[in-house]
């Protein structure tokens, strides 16, 4: 479990460093980093419980989504909404082709505010589930 928590902390440090140094910039990278904090925390919880939720995005989604039948580690609906939102915003950060660079960054900046909030909520939930973070 510890290696997942260490990786999550590493990604969080990376996010916090670029956020402190480049306020309002590189939000595509920041959002991606925050999602990768979430995914490692989720893996940490699964390991903590001795459950294999897989490693690909699809596998993890299928195993933690509370609406999926056969999910191995269902999380609460609220936590799922936070996790999935982080996934969607990190996907948007890698998705291009419909806006100019300036608009792209503005949208990512608005989403960064959302990502920060969703990760805070997710961490609170994971703590209640016994994850030592």
């Amino acid at each position: 479990m510890q290696r997942f928590l260490d990786q999550a902390a590493h990604n969080q440090d990376f996010h916090d460093s670029i956020d402190a140094t480049f306020q309002g910039k590189y939000c595509d990278w920041k959002n991606t980093a925050l999602f990768y904090v979430a995914i490692h925390l989720m893996k940490g919880l699964a390991h903590h419980r001795g459950i294999d939720i897989g490693s690909s995005h699809q596998e993890i989604e299928k195993n933690v989504n509370p609406d999926r039948h056969g999910a191995k580690m269902r999380i609460s609906k609220g936590a799922w909404s936070d996790y999935k939102s982080l996934f969607r915003y990190s996907h948007a950060a890698r998705y291009d082709g419909f806006s100019n660079p300036s608009t792209f960054q503005t949208l990512r900046s608005l989403e960064h505010r959302e990502c920060t909030l969703h990760l805070q909520n997710l961490k609170k939930y994971l703590k209640t589930q016994g994850l030592p973070i």
Binding site: N65, D67, R68, S81, R88, H91
Partner: protein, 167 residues
């Protein structure tokens, strides 16, 4: 025992899919009914809507129709999913100020949405559609993407078409 569990898993999966499809249909039935009613009324005076024409083509030449459908299946699925998305957007007119199908070099189902009030809660209410849609197997091949856009940035987005939100 293992076979029983696999069977149960498949049955549960099917039930989940059905639930998601029914949820999506709920938001669409009214619109489909309107089109069927319109086609029926117009046919009385000899006018054929695209829906009537398609049904007629299928009756005239079912084999060619099936063959043609298989060739165009990709486009057809996109059209159906697009209609479902539009119906959902209209059903959330209380939250959505404006919506646009995004112009992209690909055929992706990408929509830009302007919320009346941009908040985490309102974003989540719009994402509820994707939560259901993503449970259906076709979502892997035909992903739907919602992009929230502040009204002042709409002019910066290349749009294919504005979706009329209010009736």
């Amino acid at each position: 025992m293992e076979k029983l569990e696999v069977s149960k898993h498949i049955a549960d999966h099917r039930a989940g899919q059905l639930k998601a499809i029914l949820y999506l249909l709920q938001t669409n039935l009214d619109e489909f009914k309107d089109e069927v009613d319109r086609s029926y009324e117009l046919l009385k005076i000899g006018e054929k809507t695209p829906l009537s024409q398609k049904i007629e083509q299928s009756l005239d030449n079912p084999i060619e129709s099936i063959f043609g459908m298989s060739i165009a299946i990709d486009a057809q699925v996109r059209i159906i999913v697009d209609r479902i998305v539009r119906a959902f957007i209209k059903s959330r007119a209380n939250l959505i100020e404006a919506a646009f199908k995004t112009k992209l070099p690909t055929a992706d189902l990408h929509y830009c949405i302007v919320l009346k009030k941009d908040s985490t809660q309102n974003r989540a209410k719009v994402f509820e559609f994707l939560d259901q849609y993503d449970l259906i197997d076709i979502s892997e091949n035909y992903p739907v993407i919602f992009q929230f856009v502040p009204v002042e940035l709409v002019s910066e987005i290349e749009v294919q078409e504005e979706i009329i939100v209010g009736k």
